[in-house]
Amino acid sequence: MPDEELLLKKARRKASPEGAVESGVWYPRWYWPSFAAPATIWIAILFVLAFYVVISVAFGTVDPLFRNPLPVYEPWWWSGATFSDVLSKFVGSDAFFLPAAMRTLIYVAAASVLCLVLGYGVAYYVSRYGGRRKGLFLVLLISPFWISYLMRVYAWQSLLTEDGFINDGLRFLHLIPHPVNWLDGRPTTVILGLVYGYIPYMILPIYGQLDRINQDLLEAGRDLGASPIQTFWRVTLPLSRQAILAGMVIVTLPMFGDYYTNDLLGSTKTAMYGNLIDTTINSPGHGPQAGSLVIILVVLLALPMAYYLRTTKRAVESA
């Protein structure tokens, strides 16, 4: 027995990068980490630096003539006046940013749950019953990306107008007595737009996970006396939990910053958080306010993100 363990240990060491030393090939210490360098530099420039500029704008000032934002890069010159001014628009008597923030929370919650329910069904069907046509289904799922989102939402605009096909269809079925103006700032229309825009991002990770579930586990569940529903509930669903979390993260994060769905399908009555940023950044002199709005959103989103990272880490450790 001890011999076996020794052998196993040796084999493991051989497979590991450090083991390479023993096999006669020497790699410098930086060799393996250097593979991560391009991505690290990429993230450093596109995220860390960019976010530092946002902070410098939020705590910076504006050019006195054109009132364009003037970022201040030295932290000792930062002023929190604009930031606290923006915060006061979320709480207090003059809290006119709060309704849009609450709306965003409700719309995103509704849209992501709808994405999950609809998307899970589609992913489940394709992975379990797709059979030979799986490839075709996947192509069909990805096909909307071939046309720009903007074009597809313009199509929705004409479908949803008062004399559009949606109203014609609903009236033909006698579901509505008069045509409905779906585009006059209705939460339902905006939520529909969000679901439409983001659902593929939900389906793909869930499909990937469901497709990898070992069918033997499901059979084992059935053999041990579980009903199909019980098997789903106690085997399939727990095994796809990570994919659901990943899908939710991928879908909700961009939804919180989305402004064009509402721009195209809603009105100011359905303004979302992204619209606040879009409006303030286009208002002369309000660049620092836009920066502050971005920081507030990032901080709020960091909380669920941290939860996601923790559960993923746990799942990896227990696997």
Partner: protein, 416 residues
């Protein structure tokens, strides 16, 4: 021997003036020296008069116009930065043929957006349409070049005298700009749903009439939106810096959008009003005229109506053309401006495409209806020299006032 370094009288006055301005606030400048952003950039005087129709301003000559003998750039690409759909394609192709060049047309949806992109250097056009409210700042930041008047003979030949002698209130002596079109801002309505009598009685309140709930369009443009709401509330200063006036205007617009289901649009007047989606709309006169081309087949132009106050001044304005300092083809840019001010070219551009009239002496406003350029039902959309002289005009706001306006606008757009 070195020549003594004489200052001209103009330089002397300018420098002493600046010194006098700067001295009292020297400690402040010193204290702020290292702090970014607090010192006005360049040599911008810290006090600048804001141009108003009754307080005209001569913009300082910074730099020299290009020499008259500058050769026309051959085979160049002329970059034009203007509102969307605001020059007839045929006008552009005629210019391309005449001067053997290519014109690249980039459009913006608001003057504020354009200003931001220009000042950030994101767009470097040869010809730019900045609007009277922003020209002052652009000149002080050295972003526009003075025009060579010899290269634009059509200005004094064709354009209303008031625009070149003494010149417009925002740019006396037309040092940096020529007018492109004149316009008024009023209320467009569907005459098959609103009678002319109702419109005349309602005026601005047409837009706040619950009868048109859900069928009201308002411009998604801060100055026009707030400016008209001020007039509707009985105010007369459309560039007001008074918090109460601006709050009341903001509340009126919020009521229109939330209580009456109104919509903020860019194309509400020329696309959606003719399609019947809207019944009443805040409208620039030219958009209303252009709406006739967007009517569905079989619908007569007489369904379009336009109200603009007849018994008192209303909102009027004009667009302007300038050449940025960074222009790559400044001579061609001068030719382009002169071309647009050609009597025939300018008239065709207006009559067949934009719907916005150039201020030409050759155009008789009273004859436009008879000529069939403007439908009879839209005769109120014609802008006269008299209207331009007596109407209210949107102008540059002081930073404090602008902050009030933009805060109100942020709130309007936040839907709260």
């Amino acid at each position: 021997m070195r020549q003594p370094n004489w200052m001209s009288r103009r330089q002397f006055m300018g420098r002493t003036g600046r010194a006098a301005l700067a001295l009292p606030c020297l400690p402040a400048i010193l204290a702020a020296c290292s702090k970014p952003g607090s010192v006005p950039t360049g040599t911008t005087p810290s006090v600048r008069f804001l141009a108003r129709p009754d307080k005209p301003v001569s913009l300082p000559l910074r730099g020299q116009p290009i020499p008259t003998d500058t050769p026309i750039e051959k085979g160049a690409t002329l970059f034009v930065y203007n509102w969307a759909d605001y020059i007839w394609k045929k006008t552009i192709s005629e210019f391309e043929q005449k001067f053997d060049c290519r014109v690249e047309y980039t459009s913006f949806t608001s003057l504020e957006e354009a200003l931001q992109k220009i000042t950030a250097g994101a767009i470097r056009p040869d010809v730019y349409f900045p609007g009277p409210s922003y020209i002052g700042r652009l000149v002080y930041q050295d972003m526009l070049q003075p025009l060579n008047h010899d290269l634009i003979p059509n200005m004094t030949q064709n354009v209303w005298t008031t625009f070149w002698d003494p010149g417009p209130w925002y740019d006396q002596g037309w040092r940096y700009s020529v007018p492109y079109t004149v316009l008024s801002t009023g209320v467009a309505y569907r005459r098959d749903r609103v009678s002319d009598e109702q419109a005349a009685a309602g005026g601005y309140d047409l837009l706040w009439d619950p009868a048109y709930n859900g069928k009201i369009s308002y411009y998604d443009s801060m100055p026009d939106a707030i400016g008209m709401a001020i007039l509707r509330n009985g105010g007369t200063d459309v560039n007001s810096g008074d918090p109460k006036t601006i709050d009341a205007a903001r509340d009126a617009i919020l009521e229109l959008l939330t209580g009456l289901d109104g919509r903020l649009t860019y194309n509400g007047v020329y696309v959606k009003l003719p399609a019947g989606e809207f019944t009443v709309a805040q409208a620039w006169s030219g958009d209303t005229v252009a709406a006739q081309y967007y009517l569905p087949k079989g619908t007569g132009t007489d369904v379009l109506g336009y109200w603009h106050p007849q018994d008192r001044p209303g909102l009027v304005g004009n667009d302007i053309i300038s050449i940025p300092t960074s222009a790559q083809s400044p001579r061609l840019a001068h030719e382009f401006i002169n071309f647009l001010l050609d009597a025939k070219v300018g008239f065709e551009n207006f009559a067949y495409w934009t719907g916005y009239m150039p201020p030409f002496t050759s155009i008789d406003p009273d004859k436009l209806v008879a000529q069939g350029v403007i439908p009879k039902s839209l005769s109120t959309s014609v802008v006269t020299q008299d209207m331009m002289e007596h109407g209210y005009q949107l102008a540059e706001l002081s930073p404090a006032a602008e902050d009030l306006w933009t805060s109100a606008w942020d709130q309007i757009k936040a839907g709260a």
